[in-house]
């Protein structure tokens, strides 16, 4: 089994990917804890699982569909009711830097 460990830099990268603005102190704290946790969960790699299919769903059901029929929507007021900021019946969000 490979020696599993995670560096502070990797934790900083994970925080960015996860959109978590962590302080340096938090990064230090989490780096230690995550290192310990990852070391523990890496035990799954001890299991001989060659040829074993992954299980993504607890119950083996397939083909659950809905009919293409309209159902009632929320009103714009309901849709926007929890929004931190709105304008022109839309969700107002801070400027977006990158195009997707």
């Amino acid at each position: 089994m490979a020696c599993m460990s995670i560096t502070r830099n990797e934790v900083a990268h994970l925080a960015r990917l996860s959109r978590l603005a962590l302080t340096d102190a938090e990064l230090d704290h989490f780096a230690g804890q995550l290192d310990q946790i990852i070391g523990a969960v890496a035990r799954v790699q001890e299991v001989a699982a060659e040829g074993i299919p992954p299980m993504t769903h607890a119950v083996p059901v397939v083909n659950v569909f809905r009919d293409d029929a309209e159902e009632p929507c929320l009103t714009p007021e309901q849709a926007l009711s929890g929004a931190p900021a709105t304008e022109q019946s839309r969700f107002r969000v801070p400027r977006i830097l990158t195009e997707e």
């Binding site: 990268h13 659950v64 569909f65 929320l74």
Partner: protein, 499 residues
Amino acid sequence: MTQVAALVAYDEAIARYEPVIGLETHVELGTATKMFCGCPTRFGLPPNSAVCPVCLGLPGSLPVANRAAIEYTIRIGLALNCSIASWCRFARKNYFYPDMPKNFQISQYDEPLCTDGWIDVTVEGQTFRVGIERVHLEEDTGKSLHVGGATGRIHGADYSLVDYNRAGIPLVEVVTKPVAATGALAPVVARAYVTDLRDLLRALDVSDVRMEEGSLRCDVNTSLAPYGATEWGTRTETKNVNSLRSVERAVRFEIERQAALLDAGQRVVQETRHFHEDTGATTAGRSKEEAQDYRYFPEPDLVPVAPPPEWVDEIRASLPELPAARRLRLQGEWGLTKLDMTALANAGALDLVADTVAAGASPADARKWWLGELARHANELGVDLSTLSITPAQVARVSELVASGSLNDKLARQVLDAVLAGEGDPDKVIEARGLAVVSDDASLLAAVDAAIAAKPDVAAKIRAGKTAAADAVVGAVMKATKGRADAARVRELILERLT
């Protein structure tokens, strides 16, 4: 990287490098409701009125797949000669973006619904087989309005306003395999592929395929390699190319730009680029700070899709006549060559001609009007033929009036112009403008006699047997009747009078 790109003349670029293209086309399906909820997909609804907890991604909400969207996707896959997966799953594509309510998109990753198909595309009499890598199903995002800043564009905006009516609309992505060996025709092949795909989707009745409304959007990949190279060049991905013409222009521009880089010994950067309609150029997209890692994993809120073979067979049996087969049939019925048909298709006139024939015109007349007068008109306006404000039925009516002698070609052109100008149906135009051919001999004879009297010298020549001189009198009569006379009949009357 915003400096103006150096370009190499297209012919030179093609002389030195072989282009390879690839296309990723997104199509909004024309289902009545969204992919995972019962909200309507109609355009033009007030902002955030076609939303519910599911498509707003509210905490606790769960998706349920729309059966019709699955069926439409299978229909597309079958029409593109794909294999239909016997078992596949949706996956989550994770990235943060304000127009995406859950900050992940439900898509398909390594298990698309349809794989490994093809479509034949004919350009200038040559047929190219475009391989289809995959056809998969995903959900669309919301739409943002960018407020403030100089341009209303995303860059420099102060903030954005998001409307989630489009979020969750079923979106099919059709991805081609790399298309090589098209040489100088690469841009035209790219355009013809998108045209054919659009026609196919329309025939399948799965989407309204309106590029201008964004229901069909293209990303175009282009790479160049020196002839004989063993590896393909680095590709660029040009995003959101939103008209057929732009597809062709974008590929052409990228070939010219990449050739200049390679000529200068520089490397092509693998990147996303944006096409600009106004200049026909592409520019580098703003590169993200970190490489994207979408962390795909199977969507746990949806169960696998395992289309039963009987269902797939049923869908296959219900496929309508597809454009390629229809083209072959019409070619036979109309007695045209393959090249004629290609020209019709490339002009976007095939359906218009077919509809005009169906409305009663002869195939030859229908072709003549659409590829002649009407194509000229569309060119002048710089629009597609299909967007002209004239219907195949109106063209067929004009054609019928010409055939019956009520209109001559010149009058017919005037009628068409008037219809295009919004003056109403052909019959209404003819009545309002008094454009019908003058067909009673009595009125014509009066005009003929007046013309003869006005040109005694010409009349003398005709009497002397020089019947060719009659043309001058015919011209005078046509002028006097403002073109409403039947020139052949006028000539007959002149000769009767003078010989």
